[in-house]
């Protein structure tokens, strides 16, 4: 249960933070790379419990 709560909380905070950061970023040529990295971070957060439950890496 605690795992679930922590996971949901961190997912929510990461999503919120990334949304804000993407908005406040100045226009630059690196924008699209940053966007891609952020989506990777979100994907890793979503998959974190799955990795934990299936033995951990």
């Amino acid at each position: 249960m605690e795992l679930m709560k922590d996971w949901v909380r961190s997912l929510f905070l990461i999503l919120l933070a990334i949304t804000f950061i993407e908005m406040l970023l100045p226009e630059s040529s690196m924008g699209k790379y940053l966007h891609f990295i952020f989506s990777l971070v979100i994907m890793a957060t979503i998959l974190y419990p799955v990795i934990r439950l299936t033995g951990g890496v």
């Binding site: 997912l11 999503l15 949304t19 908005m23 979100i42």
Partner: protein, 363 residues
């Protein structure tokens, strides 16, 4: 021997106080069920009178539903006001200078909507858990009353097998609901709301999977538990019929003079006990239905409000917010479905026990 006297005797012998308390509580809370006592039910069943006044009950239900919708209307208006603000921000974004200001405002408004919805949804979630707990509790009161009656009717092996089976199923089912299924529904609602912040769908499929998974789990659990109980009941019914009929036959034919009288009065006692058991079963069914109706109406009213808000916000606010409000309404309906399936399982258990007690003459 008059059957009335036998009925009175057996009624007094049964421990009915807790059941009567639950019935009175449910009647008070719901306002739908009039004051019914078990003795009342037994006499009405015997005389073939109507047990419930259906017109009155339908009227009460309709009024209750409208009342609940009206009380949840406030939340809908609040959400709609914020959505109109979002619509204004997105449409007039050019005149607010840089693009970032308006999108920042949109995100903050989305967070406000999330906070409002989550608070309200958490209340419905706790209420649903409460309702399920109360239903499981009334089953736990009902079983120790009905099973001994079943055993007294001669269903010894049925009683001894059904008692742990049904009790275990009720406990297991309510534990499953409380700790796994309902939290998963809540989690899916949380993810749906989280999805509404951004324009890109980040966690939408996760939320959908969780919601559909819970319905599947509930159906599976009900099928398994009901199947086990029904099969065990069917198997022991034949054994008990043999036992009772052997007893009656031996009494009738082997005891010289009074054998016939003894066998017949045994018959009458068994039938009266059977009637009481079934009357208690009917009381239990009414109790569970009364406990089911109010939470279902309340949560359905909340779901209707969410859906109406989603419909009203669709032209105004961003697509994600209107979609997630819609999904939230669906999640509330899922909670109702879970509650109803649980009540159905309890009803099936009561019906199985009521249908037992093969003591009639096998011709």
């Amino acid at each position: 021997m008059d059957y009335e006297t036998v009925l009175e005797e057996q009624l007094e012998a049964t421990e009915l106080s807790e059941l009567e308390d639950s019935l009175a509580d449910a009647a008070q809370q719901s306002g739908v069920l009039e004051e019914l006592s078990v003795e009342d039910l037994v006499h009405r069943l015997l005389n073939g009178q109507q047990i419930l006044d259906s017109d009155q009950i339908l009227e009460n239900l309709k009024n209750l539903f409208l009342l609940e919708v009206r009380s949840s209307l406030m939340l809908g208006c609040e959400i709609l006001a914020v959505c109109i603000l979002i619509g204004m921000l997105t449409s007039f974004s050019d005149s607010f200078g840089k693009r970032t200001v308006s999108s920042l405002g949109t995100v903050i408004c989305s967070c406000v909507i999330i906070a409002l919805c989550m608070g309200n949804f958490y209340q419905s979630y706790e209420y649903c858990q409460d309702a399920l707990g109360t239903m499981a509790h009334s089953m736990e009161i009902l079983l120790p009353v009905m099973i001994p009656l079943l055993v007294a009717m001669g269903g010894i092996s049925s009683g001894s097998i059904l008692d742990p089976a049904v009790a275990g199923a009720v406990t297991g089912f309510s534990a499953l609901m409380e700790h796994i299924v309902l939290p998963l529904v809540f989690l899916s609602a949380v993810f749906t709301m989280i999805n509404s912040i951004t324009e890109k769908d980040y966690v939408k499929k996760l939320a959908g999977f969780l919601r559909k998974g819970t319905i599947f789990l509930t159906g599976l659990a009900v099928t398994v538990f009901t199947g086990i109980a029904a099969i065990q009941g069917m198997v022991t019914k034949a054994a008990d019929g043999i036992l009772i009929n052997t007893t009656k036959y031996s009494l009738d034919n082997f005891v010289p003079i009074v054998g016939g009288f003894a066998a017949d009065s045994l018959d009458m006692v068994i039938s009266c006990v059977g009637l009481i058991k079934n009357a208690i079963g009917v009381a239990g069914i009414l109790l569970i239905l009364a406990l089911l109706v109010i939470p279902v109406l309340k949560i359905l009213a909340v779901a209707v409000i969410y859906k109406i808000t989603a419909i009203a916000a669709e032209p105004v606010a961003s697509k994600n917010i209107s979609d997630s409000l819609n999904e939230l309404g669906t999640a509330a309906i899922t909670m109702t479905v879970v509650l109803a399936i649980g009540a159905l399982m309890f009803l099936i258990f009561i019906a199985i026990i009521m249908g037992m007690g093969g003591g009639g003459r096998w011709n």
